[in-house]
Symmetry: C2
Subunit: 174 residues, 2 copies
DNA sequence: TAACTCATGTAAAAAGTTACATGATTGG
DNA sequence: CCAATCATGTAACTTTTTACATGAGTTA
């Protein structure tokens, strides 16, 4: 149930509408927790009903702005301080690598080269963001900066790995 | 729909029962595509019904061994050679980092230190596996080795990042 | 013979995706 | 005034998780 906590976390920073939150999921949070529009609106309704967030204002075009409540802040805090740390993740791109041996060597290395290229491109994108954002000392922004740096280092590692893996496949596959 | 392809990929190597496959999901595949027992058995039934796999033998304790069919191999191949490359992933552990600024500096750094430690432990585990497995030249094993190396490099990068992030939080959070 | 591992199945709930549906406001 | 963006909602479907349920063979 991480989506609800992601929403609570975003609202802890400042009040926002479903639409505002959707935009954040499409940009900064896309990297660590993708979410669809339908899911966001649905979850907001539940959080509101449960008293973890509340409507703090309305605007044009039926806009509803939500703010986090004390109960919401407590729930967020509890989640953040939970002892367990789940390092698990799912990657369809890596899963495919597992079965690359069923293809020809050329097809296999082509896939890994594509993998490398995509990561190199993402690296460039993330570095551009890092270098163009105006970094104030805002606490929430600092957390975002840490994640961005994770993405940069991760992309670099993934690209280097993919180039190394291409070589291995070339050498070791018949 | 990656689970079905993961199953097809495993069966492309050699026939196996649902239980055998479950064990592989708990070990090697856990890193890139976790799956529950109920999901595996359900998907196997569907694949069998769809003619992508077939029963190739039975054993004690109601054991049923499945093998991949030509249709299954074709489906696997199609999936592996699809043009799109989905780099997206979900990480609850990273999502939490986004909201660390809502905690005290001590709580925040404690989380990142835990993050570092868990990754260091995983690194040690994976390196131990790499150093103790007997590496034959088997193509399927080589693919597994590439994934293992990805895990090793990724854990190392994550650990280093977490230590760096701890420093940043100490410096920049009030 | 008791505990453990092997072995499969299914039901219910939760989470996530895709698609459809609608309408207001704003900027060029 | 037209296109783009803002803004929300929901229905249907797929995927994943959790839990319950059962029983056969193996090992100490």
């Amino acid at each position: 149930m991480s989506l609800r906590h992601a929403l609570l976390g975003l609202l802890a920073e400042k009040p926002a509408s479903g639409y505002d939150l959707l935009k954040r999921f499409e940009t900064s949070l896309a990297m660590v927790w993708p979410a669809q529009q339908s899911q966001i609106y649905g979850e907001l309704a539940k959080l509101n009903e449960g008293g973890l967030i509340e409507i703090t204002g309305t605007g044009a075009r039926n806009r509803r702005e939500y703010g986090i409540t004390d109960a919401g802040r407590a729930e967020l805090r509890e989640w953040l301080t939970e002892p367990g740390l789940d390092l698990a993740f799912r990657s369809a791109a890596l899963l495919r690598v597992f079965f690359l041996w069923t293809l020809t060597r050329e097809e296999g290395t082509a896939y890994l080269e594509r993998f490398a290229r995509e990561n190199r491109e993402r690296l460039a994108t993330l570095e551009a963001i890092r270098d163009n954002v105006e970094w104030t000392g805002d606490p929430a922004q600092i957390a975002g900066w840490l994640i961005l740096e994770y993405g940069i280092r991760g992309s670099r590692t993934a690209e280097e790995w993919a180039r190394w893996a291409t070589e291995q496949l070339t050498e070791h596959l018949p």
